[in-house]
Symmetry: C2
């Protein structure tokens, strides 16, 4: 496809986009910047920034009295997140801690629940923090890491969308297979929440975690969430026995007695300002509708794949992301031996913000509420320009650091 045709096609797609109004509702820092790092840190929307300010003002006005409203937020915002983005009925999701800490709590609880099994399954390409957490538990308990689920498997830990390639896994199918062997499943939805129509209940997932700062855009380091299937919760135990999981918390009784349900996986005092950000971010997805968000996401990634085929394949780029729409998450990954240098050149000379993942992946995030089809094709066209002009060749990886 010629560049002019690509631009024409992009314009037509943007004109037909039912979610185009949302791009306006996001406070773009610079209309000329093409921000495609949305799966590492989403851009803030107006409503999220306003919600943080309003909650800070509520703290100023209501002081400790604010807790009358805030104390239930980890559960109520969790319920809303579950309903709007995760396909989870009420009473199964809470906002709490970081993804890493939630993963630790749920993995520990799962291993405790399968004391006679000696293996866990986690892919060597799994997100580092997930692997490290699980490795710590494996070592401490003298378990083994295996490649596939069998009768010895206590737990399958799996990302719903692979953080490198963008591959979307078959949550229902893999969960069913794990269950057939009596194993529990723990899904990391960090790269699918807010962009893929996650269906935890329908997939019979046991446990899940995820972050709120990628596609949801709740801010750098905003708290994460966790999901525990309703019929499991009361049989599982949170290893971090904190007062926010305690029955009659303010009675401060002598013994730890966890509340019923998923709230037993709360630990310390929740972050109140960020709960406002998460609530606002979820509200934005609710307004758009997760089905429409996913539909636009599929269209954006399809557009990126087609543009990469015509513009970048001749320059040695290989698509790392599956071509089948139902196997793709919200980002597109391109392999190239010079991916790191191309990434630097795009950042410094082309006003495009992609990101780089070891060893050779150029990752293009495209959050549906903030990305236009023209953004996608422009990012691809500028990538071609960088490589054709050899602009990337001046970067020496040994002498720099990726930011």
């Amino acid at each position: 496809m010629a560049a002019a045709d690509l631009a024409l096609a992009s314009r037509a797609l943007d004109a037909a986009d039912p979610l185009s109004r949302f791009v306006e509702r996001v406070r773009r820092p610079d209309q000329d910047l093409i921000y495609m790092d949305g799966n590492s840190l989403g851009a803030p929307s107006n409503v999220v920034l306003d919600a943080i300010g309003a909650r800070a003002d509520e703290w100023r006005r209501r002081l400790v009295g604010g807790w009358a409203n805030w104390i239930e937020l980890p559960a109520t915002v969790g319920d809303r997140l579950g309903e709007v983005t995760l396909g989870a009925a009420r009473g199964q999701v809470v906002i709490s801690d970081s993804t890493t800490v939630n993963l630790y709590k749920l993995a520990t609880a799962a291993l405790d629940a399968r004391p006679d099994r000696r293996a866990v399954v986690v892919d060597p390409g799994e997100f580092p923090s997930d692997r490290y957490v699980l490795d710590g538990l494996v070592e401490r308990r003298g378990l083994e890491r295996r490649a596939s689920v069998d009768a010895e498997t206590a737990l399958l830990l799996r990302s719903h969308v692979d953080f490198r390639t963008g591959e979307l896994r078959d949550m229902a199918g893999e969960t069913a297979e794990a269950h057939a062997h009596g194993a529990l499943t723990l899904w990391d939805t960090s790269h699918s929440v807010g962009v893929v129509d996650v269906r935890l209940d329908a997939a019979c997932a046991d446990l899940a975690v995820g972050c709120t700062y990628k596609y949801l855009g709740a801010g750098p380091g905003a708290p994460a969430f966790l999901y525990v299937r309703r019929d499991l919760a009361d049989d599982l135990r949170n290893p971090i026995q904190g007062w926010f999981g305690q029955r009659d918390q303010f009675m401060m009784g002598p013994q730890y007695q966890p509340v019923d349900g998923v709230e037993r996986f709360l630990t310390g005092t929740p972050n109140v300002l960020d709960l406002a950000a998460i609530e606002a971010a979820v509200g934005l997805v609710a307004d758009a509708g997760i089905a429409a968000v996913r539909a636009k996401s599929v269209a954006l990634t399809a557009h990126a794949v087609a543009a990469a085929d015509s513009e970048l394949a001749p320059l040695g780029f290989e698509l790392a992301t599956p071509r089948e729409a139902d196997r793709r998450g919200g980002h597109v990954a391109l392999r190239h031996p010079d991916a790191w240098r191309v990434c630097r050149a795009l950042l410094e000379h082309e006003a495009v913000v992609p990101d780089f993942r070891e060893p050779d992946i150029l990752r293009l995030g495209m959050p549906p509420l903030t990305t236009t089809f023209m953004d996608v094709s422009e990012a691809i066209v500028r990538t071609r320009r960088v490589v054709e002009n050899g602009r990337h060749l001046g970067y020496d990886r040994e002498r720099s650091r990726v930011t």
Copy 2:
């Protein structure tokens, strides 16, 4: 002392207060409100609210590029907090997670470091979340809880200031005694940080945790901190092996290899907005100087004790806080059989915000940067008025909840 004399004395103390200028720098929600709940949730200062707004704007402007500045904040803000308020030299404090989660990490690490010892020491009156966390570890490992340190003790867990009575413990003395028995110490400084001149290094404390939302006023649910004595850190292991504690984090290598020093106790992605709040809050204490803050705190609590003696003792109130200044933290606790009802009446009729702690404690927090001597005496005088007028008798605890 007559009420008029008390007011005169308060006015004189306020006139002589070298920190009176700080009261102006705190955005008081309502000049008529006497806010003495500062040890549950500190009031926001202008600089803290402004810092949150500025950091949110930095996210908007710099997007993922902001991480170049943010990635070191858990350590650099931790260092600053350590230097300004904790008596901790650099490289021993990080901002991370909640107090509860930090307590879990450090207690687990301490028990791992004393594998042959079967007991822990924690007071039954210790803060609930601290007890619950430790009880979970005790049960999981088949340990015992004992009343005092002996040769079997792996760990002494202790609050620097008791959350109920306000008693300030002898950190150096108790640590020395624990060390004489070969035990490690873990200090919860939640009720001393920002108001007491904590001297972790001088006391040879091994481990410490604390929150930032009481006297520091960094906001509801802002992240907590942890301290690991420098010569211990490399021998201790974080049970939650997260990617923020990993060497060469963004290389995302196959094995977890923790960094040297206290930063190995970081876990998941830190909360960037709240790090701005904490940094600003610490800056305010630095401006005032922790010695001056502590001096004013001692004067405020002495003023409260004297006023309570003259105004409230005749009405059946008993001082639960030690009379010796060097055994007092930053709040004053008064026991009264009707403490819960008095607390309600003060909140609803006297524009005083104290708080209540089971079973019979009226707790008066007095953060030195936001509290005047007149605030203190007015709170006491209004408490007398409530009880003299029987205003509290209309409240029925069974039909209400403490907010």
